[in-house]
Symmetry: C2
Subunit: 203 residues, 2 copies
């Protein structure tokens, strides 16, 4: 006898265990859970996943996922279209939106320059960013909101050289101790930079 | 703007987070992972889940999931059809099969008697077990391989009263210290029962 009592179950388990962080045992548990659900629920689950392949659009301006050709942010006239925040991924946009502190628009690169993973500048939405800046004509601020690791820094540096002449200001995220962080537990690199980049105290 | 940039993404995240043990953040991570996969992979993932609703059969003899009307175990003439191991779920069959130590057949109850969860004997495949034993005519051993908690014990007791006259032997799983277990760390109930149910030493 096969390890799985049913080819259908085996296929489902193999699909589920292809997800990152889901092992074979968890996948089996999840597949058996789904199997116990009413037929309609299973169909709904499957079709909502299938829709990811067919019904998701990418905003033609900022490359964010959307339900139509232009995302909700780019088509919102109350947003400040003269500030473009460059991020690695869709999730970064969602994280920044969740803060409620940003009123500009975005540009989603769709990845980060990473020679070790075989990702070069040509794989990212960099040309479309350059095109966007060149077309706009208006003075524009670009915020490079990439991660603080080597790949993020490399990408920021690459982008800076590409767009420096096209934007009136290029900025990056403030880095330092987190709000509420205890000095005792801060890593020395972060603490050191927080001292060097100290800011005016505003009581 | 909505919390999700796309209704399609939101639907997928809601489906995935309906799985047990998967929170909203993990569901988003998994949905975005799927979104990055080639279209064909997403379709394959979805259809393998959808097949759980349409293509899974239940063995008409033992109630195990199968790809046809009769499961691989029940249709295997090399298995001993005079020994029936009664288990709660499909997963229990897979666990016992994985040991390679059992050559009989199974009967999957599809649950366990649990008044607190509203599961009564009528919700389980008990009548079909009784029918199976009554029809067979041949002397049959029934192994009650249910969990050792109150619900498992209750179900075993209920089943015993139902089938005692129909089976030539009713047995249950051996319980005691696990192989390799240290006495120091054993719970006293298990250790106590291991002493009471001590077995002949076979060097």
């Amino acid at each position: 006898m096969n390890e799985y009592p049913s080819k259908v179950l085996q296929d489902a388990v193999e699909s589920i265990s292809s997800l990152p962080g889901v092992g074979a045992r968890s996948a089996l548990r999840l597949a058996l859970h789904l199997l116990r659900q009413p037929t309609d629920n299973i169909h709904h689950f499957a079709s909502s996943i299938d829709a990811l392949a067919t019904d998701v659009h990418y905003c033609r301006e900022c490359n964010m996922i959307a339900d139509s050709e232009r995302c909700g942010i780019c088509s919102d006239s109350r947003r400040d279209h003269s500030v473009i925040c460059v991020v690695e991924s869709v999730r970064d946009v969602m994280s920044i939106e969740a803060t409620g502190q940003y009123k500009g628009v975005y540009h989603v690169l769709g990845g980060i320059i990473s020679p070790i993973n075989g990702v070069g500048p040509g794989d990212l939405a960099i040309d479309s960013l350059v095109g966007r800046l060149a077309e706009s004509g208006a003075p524009t601020e670009v915020i490079l909101a990439l991660s603080g690791d080597v790949e993020g820094e490399t990408t920021s540096f690459y982008l800076y050289r590409k767009i420096a002449g096209l934007a009136s200001r290029v900025s990056t995220l403030a880095r330092g101790l987190g709000f509420g962080d205890d000095l005792e537990y801060a890593d020395s690199l972060t603490l050191g930079r927080s001292i060097v980049n100290r800011q005016e105290f505003k009581p």
